[in-house]
């Protein structure tokens, strides 16, 4: 019998809530109270997440965020700023010692990205892992990924771009020099793609989710069984949301 991991689907959460759920699952898994877990989720309202080491005010125009109703949060993972709008986001939480997870961090990025590459292939999109943390299709980025290891547990989360609005993204992200804004937008348009762009049609969230679910099952030779957050995880997530990811102290610390 195949090993069973938990599948979570949590749609339409705030930025702080989404990051709080990832951390709650990480804590529960590290204590042996939750199985390896793959979660698919969306963001409502749309949100910007920044990497652990980034400066919020240097990267993000908070006035524009407030005007457009875009949420923002600092991640516990490194990497860059991401505008989470029309995308499918995933996270995986699994013990560092699990036989399916390479101990080497770069290798483990490649392995987990393999699940997303399978998922994209299930949608009819050929893609490759591009170190450090991207997946590319037709030489353009279609997915960005970020991993942390805490409490002997791996958390990797990442995006699969369903559609992308580069102009909107750059109205929220600060650019080093206003004069190069147009050039930057055209450069990013050249470098980024989406499921919609590659396939030339819209793909529903549930179809994309199903393709990615299969992608994980194929990559890790497991069965994903839909489950729910436990009482402990819900409580942890509530606390992390309120006192950590929702706090000015955390989000503005750099």
């Amino acid at each position: 019998m195949k090993e069973q991991w938990r599948l979570l689907k949590t749609e339409n959460n705030s930025a702080a809530k989404n990051m709080a759920i990832d951390r709650a699952v990480l804590v529960a898994n590290s204590e042996g109270n939750a199985p390896p877990t793959v979660r698919f989720f969306t963001w409502s309202p749309p949100a910007i997440s920044i990497g652990y080491f980034q400066s919020l005010e240097e990267e993000v125009d908070l006035d524009v965020c407030n005007k457009l109703g875009v949420d923002y949060v600092r991640r516990i993972t490194g990497g860059g700023a991401v505008f989470h709008d029309d995308e499918l986001t995933y996270s995986i939480v699994i013990p560092e010692t699990h036989p399916q997870i390479p101990r080497n961090i770069m290798e483990s990025y490649g392995r987990i990205c393999g699940a997303i590459i399978n998922g994209l292939s299930n949608l009819g999109i050929e893609s490759n892992y591009k170190p450090i943390n991207d997946i590319i299709a037709n030489s353009r980025k279609i997915s960005g990924n970020a991993q942390t290891r805490k409490l002997k547990t791996v958390l990797q989360h990442g995006t699969v771009l369903m559609d992308v609005d580069v102009e909107k993204m750059f109205s929220i992200l600060k650019v080093p020099n206003e004069k190069i804004r147009d050039k930057l937008i055209s450069d990013v348009k050249e470098r980024v793609t989406s499921v919609k762009h590659v396939l030339g049609r819209d793909v529903s969230f549930s179809d994309a989710l199903e393709a990615m679910k299969k992608g994980f099952e194929e990559e890790f030779n497991i069965e994903l069984v839909e489950g729910k957050l436990s009482e402990e995880e819900l409580k942890l997530a509530e606390n992390f949301e309120k006192f950590f990811f929702g706090s000015k102290e955390w989000n503005h610390r750099r």
Partner: protein, 92 residues
């Protein structure tokens, strides 16, 4: 004095340094960017340990390497040379 630098690590990520210094010594430093460090919290240790360091390429590199070793820091998209370069660029 206060200065900043932005440095693209060769084959790595974008490093942004914010630096305060007096008499060629660091009084405050923030190491920012879209790189990865494991464990993440070690960056704060590194920032603390770099306080009072001389702004000299050789001694900075030595200091950074020793903090990396002491704290088992693993950088991805960043390295000691790149970090030293980013800090020294603040003086240009």
């Amino acid at each position: 004095m206060q200065s900043k630098s932005v440095y693209k690590i060769p084959e790595g990520k974008l490093l942004k340094i914010s630096l305060k210094h007096i008499d060629n010594r660091i009084t405050e430093i923030q190491i920012m960017g879209d790189f990865f460090a494991y464990p993440e919290e070690a960056i704060e240790i590194l920032e603390k340990k770099l306080k009072h360091s001389f702004l000299n390429r050789e001694s900075l590199l030595k200091k950074i390497n020793s903090v990396i070793k002491e704290n088992n820091i693993e950088f991805i998209g960043l390295n000691a040379q790149g970090l030293t370069e980013g800090i020294m660029m603040c003086l240009k």
